[in-house]
């Protein structure tokens, strides 16, 4: 709790942004009073089928589930191919992730529909698969950049290979892994917005409904929330990275 109050003191502007954003998402009256002056001729200002808070929840669930599973899988994969028994796959995994990263995220998301169908599952799968890429790449880069003498010193102290990995290599590689996670999370939030088109719910639903029904207020209602969520995630990662830099 002490850490939280300290951050709040240092980051007044950031805390204010988070507070305003959460209030905007939670309170339909706030959304209404913000948007209605802009669109005096529109009858409906707020997306009627679901509250923004609900859409926000769906969005967050999709992003967190796919992000966390990608984080775990990506790190395991990155560790695997940098061990002696997995080295053979290193080159192919690097080539393949480089190739797959040229695929647009929206392509991966919509490809999931012919493969799995509509709904939450295809969106989850697509986001999961796409989020792995930056994490694997950065885990590999991070682990490969750990200096050889450091590993040898750890071995010399009598650590087992597993201990070397956990106590020496991973802490060294963690900044790179964190950067990869940050990139993948931002892409993930953006792609999840398009998930509204394939029936996965989320904030994109309001935007797409607004586009289809030519109601700019719905579009704006959802777009502000989606952009805010991306800024929020980026800000939290920024704080985390700052905190890590200070510890060093």
């Amino acid at each position: 709790m002490h850490g939280v109050t300290k951050i709040l003191k240092q980051q007044k502007l950031g805390a204010l942004f988070v507070l305003v954003y959460l209030l905007y998402v939670a309170l339909p009256t706030l959304q209404y009073s913000l948007l209605s002056p802009l669109f005096p001729h529109l009858q409906e200002i707020l997306y009627p089928r679901a509250s923004l808070l609900r859409l926000f929840g769906e969005h967050l669930l999709l992003v967190l589930l796919s992000g966390i599973s990608a984080f775990v899988t990506g790190i395991i994969l990155g560790i695997g191919v940098t061990r002696p028994w997995g080295r053979e796959f290193l080159q192919s995994v690097q080539d393949l992730t480089a190739l797959l990263q040229t695929f647009p995220p929206v392509a991966v998301l919509t490809l999931a529909v012919p493969a799995v169908g509509f709904g939450f599952t295809p969106a989850y799968l697509a986001l999961f698969l796409y989020s792995i890429l930056p994490i694997v790449r950065n885990t590999i880069t991070g682990l490969l950049s750990v200096p050889q003498p450091l590993k040898e010193a750890a071995r010399g102290m009598g650590m087992t290979p597993l201990q070397v990995l956990i106590k020496a290599e991973l802490p060294q590689a963690f900044p790179a892994i964190l950067t990869g996670t940050r990139i993948s999370m931002i892409i993930n939030i953006g792609t999840a917005t398009i998930g509204g088109v394939i029936g996965a719910g989320g904030l994109g639903v309001a935007i797409v409904a607004g586009l289809v029904r030519d109601n700019t207020a719905f579009v704006l209602q959802g777009a502000i929330a989606a952009a805010g969520l991306a800024f929020l995630a980026d800000y939290l990662f920024e704080l985390w990275e700052q905190k890590m830099n200070r510890q060093e």
Partner: protein, 384 residues
Amino acid sequence: MRFKIFTGLCAVCTFLLPLFTVKPNRIQTGSAVWVFELPPGYWAAAVILIFLIAFIVFSRRHTDILFLLFSLAFMTLLLAILHYLQGHLYMWDAQEYGRISFSGGFWIALLTIYLLLSWAYRNTRHKQLLLPIAILLMTAGVFLFILVGSFEHTAILLEYQNRSQKFLMELLNHINLSLAAVGTATVIGVPAGIWAARSQKYRILVFKTVNGIQTIPSLALFGLMIAPLALLSQQFPVLRSLGIAGIGTAPALIALTLYSLLPIIRNTFTGIYYIETQIISAAHGMGMNRAQTFRYIELPLSTPMILTGIRMSLVQCIGNTAVAALIGAGGLGTFIFQGLGQSVPDLILLGVIPVILLSILFDRLFHLAEHWATPRGVRLAWGN
């Protein structure tokens, strides 16, 4: 060894999953085509191919040619099965309107071919030769089968034939939009990057702004563009006569340009800012003035980096242009979202596959350009 086993497993999986799906028409769900439902010749060929691959897996020889041949044989077998299906649609309860879609096995087959080729490439002594030959042979093979009519009932081709004119138009539209946005972003971004490298004061401001833009989800940015543009065109009819409205090309182009700024500005900045000071000092020592130093030293040295930035922008932009179809900007995304709306997976593929191919194509082209634009001396110093 493990790599070869993995490739072998992929080859086996290809035939354990359904390769294709045959549908009686556009709407009905289809029935899966398994390899063992085919005449003995086909599955015998599959079994022999797998045994041959297994043989190579367990022999210790690194034969690039064999792996190349296997990938070709693998592709030929797939195409032959496709050709057989064309003539025997009735066996899967489909008639003249029958259409064939690709299934799980087919996609795994593509992965297998990729793995076989990458293995051949890694172990060959003729790296310059192998890949062009493989691509040439494969394209020739596919074209041969197209000429023979093996693809006539392929669903994606049928979707294409229904709208071949529109497809060409949207493809060009897509390329135009992406190139226009990245072109504009280059015109703005390169000077901005140079400026950021020169002026410490505005550097943080520039990067905070473009970083912030890049963080916004693409669909949200498109959405945020609509409202102000719609208001503007309502206030000023002149703008409307110029074609600027809340929906359509104008908001898409602005949003795509804004999106493309970050990689270009960042790479221009990095390219110029991190040139070693000794080089600049040497240039000054030779009597070059600031303009000359920029023209003969800084610009050539940072060009590869700037091109990398433009490449990243373009690849990202091609993907985002697909999303722009949602706000009525056209492009290949039109087919993707139509396909999603009508629940026709093959129409989605008709949009998605060209988008992916375009990304890869422009990525490769710019890689070549980067290599070509790197000064010879720098190339030698890097050792490639």
